[in-house]
């Protein structure tokens, strides 16, 4: 410990991320997105704005899509988090395959957040129509694609969703 340096307050938290348990000690102001990206080195979750507008940081927290940049890590204590890295099991998830095959990915920066939001939608409503899909992803900004192929990709996973 350097002389004169304050002892930083750290809060112990438990996170289950992609099925794995983690015990961490985090500064109280750290966001869930920073803990995922830096402490756990899961950089699939992106940071686009840091203020909960763009949706690139979307993860599933206890099954719900959240902006991880707006969640303080201590608020996530005890939660189950699913990031994009946890979506595929032995095979890519049907959403991942659909996004690739339908040309719904260009730069790919919005993709992890977009796919997780789509998963949350399909988990709740396995056969959404186009309007419902558009509404569900309204909080995920994409600047490359114009959304058309993203909506097609998600639609193609409707009703054939077997999860």
């Amino acid at each position: 410990m350097e002389p004169g340096k304050d002892v930083e307050m750290r809060i112990p938290i438990q996170l289950k991320v992609n099925g794995e348990d983690h015990s961490l000690r985090v500064k109280p102001n750290r966001t869930l997105s920073d803990v995922l990206r830096e402490d756990l080195e899961l950089t699939g979750t992106k940071k686009g704005c840091g203020s909960g507008k763009c949706g690139s940081c979307t993860v599933l927290m206890n099954g719900r899509a959240v902006n991880s940049c707006l969640i303080l890590a201590p608020q996530a204590d005890g939660a189950e988090i699913l990031t994009i890295e946890g979506l595929a099991e032995r095979q890519p998830h049907p959403l991942q395959r659909a996004f690739v095959e339908k040309g719904a990915i260009q730069c790919g920066y919005c993709t992890p957040g977009m796919i997780l939001t789509a998963k949350a939608l399909l988990d709740e409503n396995s056969n959404p129509n186009e309007g419902e899909i558009k509404k569900a992803i309204a909080g995920n900004m994409c600047r490359c694609t114009g959304y058309n192929k993203i909506v097609e990709a998600i639609r193609s996973c409707a009703s054939s969703e077997s999860e």
Binding site: T83, F99, I105, N140, C142, R143, K149
Partner: protein, 755 residues
């Protein structure tokens, strides 16, 4: 080319699954051992003298490893096309956002805290944010050697405009304004800079111009060119913005001082206030026409805002002045352009590069002329459009040209005639066309063209090296398809190397819609060479002549005897043995058949091929709120040949969405010398709720100068969108909107006037 195996197919992006799995490491995902985090201190004033900077308290904050200012730089003046930049403001900050100091620390929190400990003494100066104000005689100067803040002037003329307009049946005259908008790519700008024990800098940056920016950065840092290496990881979008920017240089200066790698990624706020947004323009137009609807002459004046220092604004203003002249059969044209310094964030390239601003104006004007002549706007385009194998007024040699096909197919798909015939209140349909280039010889005196390298290993693994940039538009996959086609192998045998200036060819970069045509031709040339070398080896194995060797689906055979094959991998192995282990490396280059334009007349063929497009938009206006909804959109594009149709469609849809945003919702609002909406809450970009179904139509006349007939799509995808929407609004409510964006309040005010 009677049959193509790989080109022309909608292959999914070769890096798509990596992105879908979250495995792709973008610039902001990179991590190096002992890496520090950088933050930039920016001027809070639009214009101020810097009297003093005290960094002592910041330097002594535990965890801070370097604090830098202008004093830590060689103090050299530089710029991509000018010499008005310094790394950090020297004695004057010229815009709110100007780099004044920077910090590198062990974590972001510490870096941010350190910024607050830096004490800067400013003395405010008068400031100006509007180009028209900045040009006044009594305006306060940003640079003492630029009277009236005129950074550059541009002049071009051909024929006799005054006479042409004089003799016209009708001349439309008006003033338009296109506002300053932000590219809003999802990953902010930044870099990771590392320095080795010899002081050599490696810069990991999301850049469209890895080779070109080295030239400028070497000068800025006072280093020889070879002392900088640029590596381009995957990055989250650009749309023109990610070319030269001080953020990369600040990272390098910090890394040099700290002796450790530094990651400096703009916060979104910093990216808004110090990125490279679009050049705002005031455009005056006079456009003449005969009674039969033949365009006679065009006279324009463009006044564009450069911001506080010159990035590419003067070239963008120049482009606005004359690129559209080669869309129609103009013979009499004149343009004057003024690029003006203002105390605002430096403006630069944004998809369209001046041609989008001017296309908005020209296509709106054509609509007004169509109205005056009681002519179908589509027919007006058909009548005046330049044709294939014609030379334009500025010497542009149009080769393939699908413009009329685009108009015909778009109008058919959109049910144009029927919808124009109906008069539904508050609903309308509008049409616009565009032209563009596929590369621009005028951009850089020394060079245009491309080079490629194809390496075939003993294991048959093929690696393609190019020097351009994949910003998400799908360049990697297109290059892989081109090489796979030429070599005759399945796509999955091709790997595209990360662009690394230590290894990759000098690529001019991805801008001017040049990537597919220029870069594609470069890698194709390399693939040709590779095939020749492989064919020699295969010829020996077959005991045939190299000219008779062919390859398809990964197997070599002799022409005329396709049943006897040797797998590609076997030939590759043989090639390696024949070279005693040296890899088979083929190099190719592409020299485009273009001319550097005449300095005065600007005459000269600047591009090997010219893409064209036609957009049709349908709108609905809410009479209670003034909100404009774009309900349907058809976009037909002459792309020569779509190397990858699905990717081309994606580009079209993305371009249309950006045009939609620009027209109805995007605006960087300057108030008291500052951007008052530097965040996504108040700077709105289209969401899934705002964008309708966009029907892309690919028109493929097959361009002789393009790789497998391809030309570009990137910028043409945007150019006609704005005026298609405002032309639809004119059709809907009879109001001509001449300023972007068209805000709901504006629409409402106009509707109320008419009641």
């Amino acid at each position: 080319m009677s049959y193509l195996d790989v080109v022309g197919k909608s292959h999914p992006q070769i890096d798509g699954m990596e992105k879908a799995m979250g495995k792709t490491r973008f610039v902001s995902d990179l991590s190096l051992p002992k890496m520090l985090y950088g933050r930039t201190l920016r001027s809070p004033y639009p214009h101020a003298k810097i009297k003093n900077i005290d960094v002592s308290r910041a330097e002594s904050l535990p965890g801070v490893k370097a604090v830098v200012t202008y004093a830590d730089t060689p103090g050299i003046k530089y710029g991509p096309r000018s010499e008005d930049w310094t790394i950090f403001a020297a004695d004057r900050a010229r815009f709110c956002g100007d780099e004044v100091a920077a910090v590198a620390a062990v974590d972001e929190d510490t870096a941010e805290e350190a910024l607050e400990l830096i004490k800067v003494e400013y003395e405010e100066l008068p400031w100006v944010t509007d180009p028209l104000e900045a040009m006044k005689e009594d305006a306060f100067l940003l640079y003492d050697d630029k009277p009236r803040n005129i950074a550059a002037e541009y002049k071009i003329a051909a024929g006799d405009v005054d006479r042409a307009l004089d003799e016209s049946y009708y001349v439309y005259r008006d003033r338009y304004y296109t506002n300053e908008v932000y590219q809003a790519y999802l990953e902010p700008m930044g870099a990771v800079a590392d320095v080795d024990s010899n002081g050599r800098i490696t810069m990991y940056a999301g850049t469209q111009v890895p080779s070109m920016m080295r030239l400028t950065y070497a000068k800025a840092l006072g280093l020889p060119l070879e002392a900088i290496r640029v590596i381009v990881p995957d990055y989250g979008g650009a749309f023109g913005a990610k070319m030269e920017n001080n953020v990369h240089l600040v990272a390098a200066v910090l890394a040099r001082k700290a002796g450790r790698p530094v990651k400096l990624i703009n916060t979104r706020h910093d990216d808004f206030i110090a990125g490279n947004p679009r050049v705002p323009m005031y455009i005056d137009i006079a456009l003449g026409v005969t009674r039969d609807g033949l365009l006679t002459g065009k006279d324009v004046t463009v006044i564009g805002g450069a911001g506080a220092r010159m990035v590419y604004a003067q070239i963008i203003v120049g482009t606005a002045c004359y690129r559209v002249d080669s869309l129609y059969r103009f013979k009499n044209v004149r343009a004057k352009g003024y690029t003006i310094y203002t105390n605002t964030v430096p403006t630069s390239c944004f998809r369209g590069f001046g041609n989008s601003q001017m296309t908005f104006v020209l296509e709106s004007s054509l609509d007004m002329i169509a109205d005056e002549l009681k002519m179908d706007p589509a027919e007006l385009r058909m009548k005046n459009g330049i044709g294939a194998n014609e030379t334009s007024v500025h010497g542009w040699r149009i080769t393939s040209n699908g413009l009329r096909d685009c108009v015909a197919k778009a109008t058919e798909a959109a049910n144009w005639k029927e919808k124009r015939g109906k008069k539904t209140p508050l609903r309308g349909i509008g049409l616009s066309c565009c032209n563009h280039v596929s590369g621009n010889r005028a951009f850089f005196p020394e060079f245009d063209g491309s080079g490629g390298i194809v390496r075939v290993g003993r294991d048959g693994r093929i690696v393609v090296y190019h020097g351009e940039s994949d910003m998400g538009q799908g360049q990697k996959t297109v290059y892989a398809q081109i090489v796979a086609e030429r070599l005759g192998v399945p796509l999955d045998m091709i790997n595209v190397a990360t662009v690394d200036t230590d290894i990759s060819p000098f690529g001019f970069g991805s801008f001017a819609t040049r990537g597919t045509l220029m870069g594609g031709n470069g890698v194709l040339a390399a693939a040709e060479e590779a095939f020749k070398l492989l064919a020699e080896v295969a010829a020996e194995l077959f005991e045939a002549s190299p000219q008779d060797i062919q390859c398809r689906n990964g197997a070599f055979f002799v022409k005329g005897a396709p049943e006897k094959t040797i797998p590609f991998k076997d030939v590759a192995e043989k090639a390696s043995l024949a070279r005693f282990g040296a890899p088979l490396v083929a190099v190719g280059s592409y020299k485009p058949p273009t001319e550097y334009p005449d300095a005065v007349t600007k005459y000269g063929n600047v591009s090997p091929a010219y893409p064209f497009g036609c957009h049709i938009a349908e709108v609905e206006v809410d009479p209670d709120t003034g909100q404009v909804t774009v309900t349907n959109f058809v976009a037909a594009h002459d792309v020569g040949r779509a190397i990858n149709p699905m990717a081309t469609e994606g580009q079209i849809q993305g371009g249309v969405a950006q045009g939609l945003g620009w027209t109805v919702m995007e605006n960087m609002v300057f108030e008291k010398g500052r951007i008052n909406n530097p965040d996504f809450l108040d700077y709105l970009i289209p969401t899934s709720m705002d964008v309708p179904n966009i029907t892309p139509i690919l028109v493929e006349p097959v361009e002789p100068n393009g790789p497998y007939g391809a030309k570009g799509i990137g910028e043409p995808a945007l150019n006609p969108a704005m005026s298609a929407i405002t032309n639809a609004l004119y059709n809907a409510i009879g109001v001509r909107f001449k300023e972007l964006p068209v805000a709901p309040e504006t629409v409402l005010a106009e509707l109320r006037k008419r009641r």
